[in-house]
């Protein structure tokens, strides 16, 4: 394993994203001895402060300061990275909305292999990198081998590798801004429109009855609402319910929705994809009701009930009312 390993550092408001501490540990799984270089593209003082921050974790930090990067436009960043990355590098990128925008095209431009959304790495055997992925919404895992003889771009699922909190490096910050040059892009960032908050703020609730695809049709939402009312909580949901326009976006839990921190999370007819569970924080007591015993949610939940939620919810509502 002779390739140099790089980690792409995302940041917001002058602070490194949590993934910055995870990527170095995923790199160590490729090669425990690796001297991993962090790459920090950004603008002005933000790039400076993030580069300083991650120098506590990475032995070397490449800063790319570009005034166009006050917002991270992947179409620009891709060109800048092409100008600085050595041939045959292995670059690790978080598998999130920026990484998904940036990485596939970069693998074409730099002509290296591409593996996306890696959840584990079993090491490198010569030029073969052994990765673990999931398919079919997390229902099955697969071993995927990647030829890294001419480099690779690997996107890493956020939150699956341990964060390196040791802050044991005192890395050198190298300014690569002039080498990276400037890049013209045919896509221009305009603004971020914040998601609207609806009549109910699910981020402030202690008890959530969350519904997914298993709700079947819009009229059935009533069943969940009655249960939530009996429990003294509110109804939240997973992505398919919002896509179907049955509930407003503000009720969606997940990485592309709200991050919630309830005490009790009752997931009904939700399979438990990582995108959904990524929005459930604060270690709540999780109960899963699902008629598919293989649903990934049963691996995450504290308590499981193998039942059709549409039959089970009214029964549960009844029992709660009796108990009161």
């Amino acid at each position: 394993m002779s390739s140099q390993i790089f980690a792409y550092i995302e940041h917001h408001g002058g602070a490194a994203d949590d993934s910055a501490l995870e990527l170095i540990n995923s790199a160590k799984k490729i090669d425990p001895e690796a001297k991993v270089t962090a790459i920090v593209p950004g603008s002005g003082s933000e790039a400076d402060s993030v580069a300083q921050e991650v120098a506590a974790t990475y032995p070397e930090v490449w800063k790319i300061d570009n005034s166009e990067l006050s917002y991270p436009n992947a179409e620009i960043i891709r060109g800048l990275l092409l100008n600085v990355l050595p041939k045959d590098s292995v670059l690790l990128v978080p598998h999130d909305t920026l990484g998904m925008d940036l990485a596939p095209g970069l693998s074409i431009k730099i002509d290296s292999s591409y593996v996306a959304d890696v959840v584990d790495i079993e090491g490198a055997d010569g030029d073969t990198l052994k990765t673990v992925r999931q398919e079919f919404g997390g229902q099955v895992h697969s071993h995927v081998n990647c030829d890294i003889s001419e480099g690779a771009i690997i996107t890493i699922r956020p939150g699956v590798f341990q964060a390196d909190e040791s802050k044991s490096a005192s890395g050198e910050v190298v300014d690569k801004s002039s080498e990276a040059g400037s890049v013209e892009a045919k896509r221009k960032f305009l603004e971020v429109e914040e998601a609207e908050v609806g009549e109910v703020d699910i981020t402030k609730e202690d008890v959530l009855v969350s519904i997914g695809r298993g709700i079947g049709e819009e009229d059935n939402i009533e069943v969940a609402e009655e249960l939530a009312e009996a429990m003294g909580g509110v109804v939240s949901c997973s992505r398919p319910v919002v896509d179907a326009k049955w509930m407003e976006k503000g009720r969606q839990v997940g990485t592309s929705g709200k991050t919630v921190k309830p005490k009790v999370y009752l997931a009904m007819g939700i399979s438990g994809s990582f995108q959904h569970m990524g929005g459930v924080k604060g270690n709540p007591y999780i109960v899963a009701v699902n008629n598919n015993p293989k649903a990934p949610i049963f691996q995450i939940a504290d308590l499981g009930v193998e039942e059709d939620m549409l039959e089970f919810a009214p029964e549960l509502t009844e029992k709660i009312k009796e108990m009161k």
Binding site: N73, A74, E75, R78, D101, P104, G105, L106, I108, S113, Y114, A116, D117, R133, E135, F136, G137, V140, H141, S142, H143, V144, N145, C146, E150, A185, K186, R187, F189, L190, V192, E193, E194, A195, D206, V207, G232, G233, K249, T255, S256, K258, T259, K263, V264, L266, Y285, I286, V287, K294, Q299, I300, A301, D302, G304, V305, E315, K319, I320, M323
Partner: protein, 263 residues
């Protein structure tokens, strides 16, 4: 506007439990229900809506075996003007780059203002759109959940980013967009609609029609290979409640109360 949408026939995970065969070489495909990849269906709906507003055409293309034709017909029943099936045994074993290279060759045979893919498909790589854009030197936007035509040369597109927020961009045409679910409400396709297009001819292109060979895009070219499927050794997972429906409901009510889930 002439629009090409890349679609894929995939096992429908909302209809199936995915199981692995005994050797771990593949999933059990025998009784699977297949359908068009959900994200792709939103992309086709968006393309049809654009065509209906400003004119032009919608072409759907897929790389797959002869069974994939049913997916093209379904999307044509929705309103796509034509379908193209790219099918060749030599594509077997390709990686994402092989698929993208094949589609790129097909795209170059025509003239399109806009190329769309779904944001991701069954394998979850979310890669083909971005790769095609890079190969064609076109601008790219992923996870698009809002689209507005500004003029003949520009679109305004919203990308769905973390927290349910939307990142607004201006992008020049021609471009490649990967479409996120929820951007529209795909129309229902009935049996009657599919019957209407049952006899429309769908051209099939092999690799040689595209100036490619299996060495360019097939298993030999693939640098990324799935070795096997497996079920990971997991922790114990959830404690499962036993009993009939009523008993389970009664136990759960008690437990919820003890955990502060009933106020």
């Amino acid at each position: 506007m002439d629009i090409l949408v890349c679609v894929k026939r995939v096992p429908d995970t909302s209809e199936n439990e995915i199981e692995i065969n005994s050797e771990g070489t593949d999933i059990e495909r025998e009784d699977l229900v297949y359908s068009v990849n959900e994200w792709d269906n939103y992309a086709v709906e968006e393309a049809i809506q654009i065509r209906d507003r400003v004119g032009g055409s919608v072409t759907v293309v897929t790389v797959g075996d002869e069974d994939s034709e049913e997916v093209l017909r379904r999307e044509m029943a929705m309103g796509a003007d034509q379908g193209i099936l790219i099918s060749d045994d030599a594509i077997e074993g390709c990686d994402g780059k092989g698929s993208a290279k094949t589609l790129k060759a097909e795209i170059e045979k025509g003239k399109y203002d806009l190329i769309m893919t779904g944001a991701q498909a069954d394998e979850g790589y979310a890669q083909v759109g971005g790769m095609i854009a890079a190969m064609l030197d076109m601008p790219y936007a992923s996870l698009v959940n809002y689209l507005e035509i500004l003029d003949d040369n520009k679109l305004k597109v919203g990308r769905e980013i973390e927290g349910g927020n939307t990142e607004m961009n201006e992008i020049s045409i021609p471009c490649v967009l990967s479409i996120q679910t929820g951007i529209n409400e795909p129309r229902y396709v009935g049996i009657r609609g599919i019957r209407k297009v049952a006899n429309v001819e769908i051209p099939t292109h092999g690799l040689s029609d595209l100036g490619l060979s299996g060495d360019d895009v097939g298993e030999k070219a693939a640098k990324v290979k799935r070795v096997d499927y497996f079920v990971p050794e997991t922790g114990e997972g959830a404690e499962m409640l036993e009993g009939d429906t009523e008993e389970k409901a009664e136990k759960l009510a008690e437990i919820l109360k003890s955990k502060g889930g009933i106020k």
